[in-house]
């Protein structure tokens, strides 16, 4: 049992990194735009499909393919923000954002369903089923690479937010949109670029998701509920919180699945979420904490 517990913790940490990649964009978008992006799940799936097409049709390694898929999804995000999000008024913005982004997710799902059919796909590079054997444990290579990628990308976003002029504009918009406008920040442009960045990061998450899971256009529906819970637990708007919450969620679920039963994994996780929120409503690294950074 001890060995299995350690395996569960290790698996949870590595898988948590993958989920952090998928959730990071969601928390960034909410932090700056006050938008709950229900389409995040389908963006992950879109990233998976793009990586799959590059890999299967052009033989491009999935990680190398990120050089194409990340900019592509950036522009997809910019397009979605311009076409749908920008039209939302300030009144009932959060509520309307749920409806609008849900509609976007349905449209995208329909397009992908028509384009690719209902077959499930999975990227199968050579390292997909390979593993590192470390101290008696098998660590799937793709999860290790995915975790490293998550750390690198999230660090890059952190550096962008806290070490750049643009990042200062983003944080100003995050704290107070009106005040930011008054001091000359082009809030509209910041919002568009932030939505684009949030979607672009999802390309990486989608790629890893596509290597570790067989996916179809419907796969986004199961994902979005988990991603939302991660960003709420971590604190809406906190990049570090998304990482911490994702790792915590997956470790907790894996331990419960191993020691007790997988049926209870989501129950225990959501119970923990409720406990955290009742003590700290803004989440582990909620917006107050994020703004203080």
């Amino acid at each position: 049992m001890g060995t299995q517990l350690v395996q569960a913790v290790v698996d949870g940490v590595l898988t948590g990194g993958v989920y952090a990649l998928m959730a990071a964009g969601l928390t960034l978008i909410f932090g700056v735009l006050d938008i709950i992006n229900i389409a995040q799940g389908i963006f992950v799936v879109l990233g998976a499909y793009l990586s799959y097409v590059l890999w299967s049709d052009l033989g491009i390694d999935p990680f190398l393919g990120l050089l194409i898929t990340i900019p592509t999804l950036f522009f997809v995000g910019v397009g979605v923000e311009w076409a749908f999000i920008r039209r939302l008024g300030e009144r009932d913005r959060v509520t309307m954002s749920i409806l609008v982004t849900y509609a976007v997710s349905l449209i995208l799902e329909g397009i992908l369903d028509n384009a690719f059919g209902t077959n499930v796909f999975q990227l199968r590079p050579s390292y997909e089923s390979s593993s590192f054997f470390v101290f008696g444990f098998y660590l799937q290579q793709i999860y290790v690479y995915g975790f490293v990628l998550a750390v690198v990308l999230l660090a890059a976003i952190y550096a962008l937010l806290y070490r750049s002029r643009f990042g200062a504009s983003v944080r100003a918009s995050l704290q107070d949109r009106t005040a930011a406008q008054l001091i000359g920040v082009n809030v509209r442009r910041v919002s568009t670029i932030t939505f684009g960045i949030g979607t672009a990061v999802t390309a990486a998450g989608g790629m890893v998701f596509g290597v570790t899971n067989a996916f179809s256009a419907n796969s986004g529906a199961d994902l979005i509920s988990r991603l939302l819970s991660i960003v709420i637990l971590g604190g809406l708007g906190s990049i570090g919180g998304a990482m911490g919450a994702a790792v915590l969620m997956l470790v907790l679920e894996d331990i419960v699945a191993t020691v007790w039963s997988p049926v209870w994994s989501p129950v225990v996780y959501f119970a923990a979420l409720l406990i955290v929120l009742s003590i700290r409503p803004v989440g582990l690294f909620g917006r107050t904490a994020a703004r203080a950074q």
């Binding site: 060995t3 799902e109 499930v120 999975q122 593993s131 529906a221 199961d222 894996d254 997988p262």
Partner: protein
């Protein structure tokens, strides 16, 4: 009369000419008769095919064209459309053209029930046929029952469907509870020296856990195959790593997976491969039977040796089944191996419904229900169909299938029961991943 030679004077010449003339006339008559018969037949056939079918009869169904069951739902859609085309080319239903009205239920039970209400009340469907999965069949059967409609279906085989007390639901496929029996009985029949020692079970918390697994555990337990791991997980699970790790850690000789999705089986197989875990046999209750969808998810090399329970496969030993496969490939492309078992299940639904309509000479649902309960045996591409009081097919054939190869290209073959017509020798032990 013996013919005289032509050189035998004028009289002989007349005889020869007469003989030739008679032969010529006879030949012309024969040719004319043949021609007349052929043109008459083809004319009749053309007239038959061109014969205008009567007013359309609407047959309604709710299918999962999106959502979790969309792969199966869309396969069912194709099966129903193939039946529609086939039956309309053979006189329709009592001379009426079949019009299929299919509504999407997004794989949700409430939408399925709503759809049947809509189909019957608003769309005026005369007949209804079933959705995909037991989960959707129960509410659909209830909705149809409220309107007094029969619901012939092909994918609702869980005990829950037949415990509703409804008399209007008829499942043309084999009873789900018996699904793993061929595999378990085969394992139990192995000589003690080669018989697997341990087994691991991992299943979704659905009908498979409730129905098939207790029977499997009983058969294997009696044969001395020890259960070393057993876990159930919710259908919403997206991370199978801890469960797969548990199976790996159990070092089980054989693995039994209960699931409804290709993606689930694929996730387990990936984890097993990464951990260099090579059980001697793996069988899933669903997933590997989805032809091209399964192969594209797991890769052709990894598919070899994986088993799945089922009632039909593209190579099923029946003329009508072969014809169905050919029609499918002609219309939708791909290869015979890639034809999903759901297509045959859906087509069988249409076949049985047709037989009931013909026998009752009409579209009165109460008569159809009564007739389907009359202990008659019906024919289908899946084999014989006979319903008990609850609507289960007591003559349903179920087998175990396995992906095999001789040339590198995987083929889907019937392997169990070993004594069943059409079974080939199962591959045991399963080769290592990717080999």
């Amino acid at each position: 009369m013996r013919m005289r030679r032509a050189t035998d004077g004028g009289g002989a010449a007349v005889h020869v000419r007469s003989a030739v003339a008679r032969a010529g006339i006879a030949g012309a008559l024969v040719a004319g008769t043949v021609l007349a018969a052929w043109s008459g037949t083809s004319g009749a056939a053309q007239a038959h095919h061109k014969k205008k079918l009567g007013s359309p009869v609407v047959v309604g169904a709710s299918l999962s064209l999106s959502g979790d069951f969309s792969t199966d739902g869309q396969a069912f859609d194709r099966g129903y459309h193939l039946w529609q085309a086939w039956q309309n080319a053979h006189g329709g239903l009592l001379g009426h053209k079949i019009v299929l009205k299919i509504l999407s239920d997004k794989s949700t039970p409430t939408q399925a029930a709503t759809n049947y209400n809509t189909l019957i009340s608003s769309d005026h469907a005369k007949l209804t046929i079933g959705p995909f999965s037991s989960l959707l069949t129960v509410p659909s059967a209830k909705a149809a029952h409220r309107h007094g409609y029969a619901l012939v279906e092909g994918a609702g085989g869980a005990p829950a469907v037949f415990k509703t007390g409804l008399n209007n639901v008829f499942d043309v496929s084999y009873p789900v509870a018996t699904g793993l029996k061929p595999f378990c009985e085969w394992v139990a029949s192995m000589p003690k020296g080669t018989r697997p020692k341990t087994v691991a079970y991992a299943t979704v918390t659905t009908i498979f856990e409730a129905t098939q697994f207790p029977i499997a555990k009983r058969i294997l337990g009696k044969a001395g195959v020890r259960t070393v791991y057993t876990k159930t997980f919710p259908t919403e699970t997206t991370d199978f790593t801890p469960i797969a790790s548990g199976v790996v850690g159990s070092h089980a000789t054989i693995v039994i997976l209960g699931d409804t999705a290709v993606s689930t089986v694929s996730s387990f197989m990936s984890s097993f491969e990464a951990a260099h875990f090579n059980p001697k046999a793996i069988i899933a209750t669903s997933g590997p039977d989805q032809g091209a969808a399964f192969l594209s998810a797991v890769g052709t090399a990894n598919a070899i040796g994986v088993m799945v329970e089922g009632g039909w496969y593209p190579g099923f030993a029946s003329k009508s089944s072969h014809a169905l496969v050919q029609r499918y490939v002609k219309k939708y492309g791909g290869t015979a191996s890639g034809v999903n078992a759901d297509v045959a299940e859906a087509f069988s639904v249409g076949e049985v419904l047709t037989q009931a309509v013909k026998a009752t000479h009409g579209f009165t649902n109460q008569k159809i229900i009564h007739y389907l309960h009359s202990n008659k045996t019906f024919s289908s591409v899946q084999g014989p169909v006979k319903f008990d009081k609850a609507g289960e097919n007591v003559k349903g054939l179920n087998f175990a299938f396995q992906w095999l190869t001789k040339t590198g290209t995987p083929t889907f073959a019937q392997v169990l029961p070993t004594t069943a017509k059409g079974s080939v020798t199962p591959l045991y032990p399963k080769p290592s991943w990717g080999s």
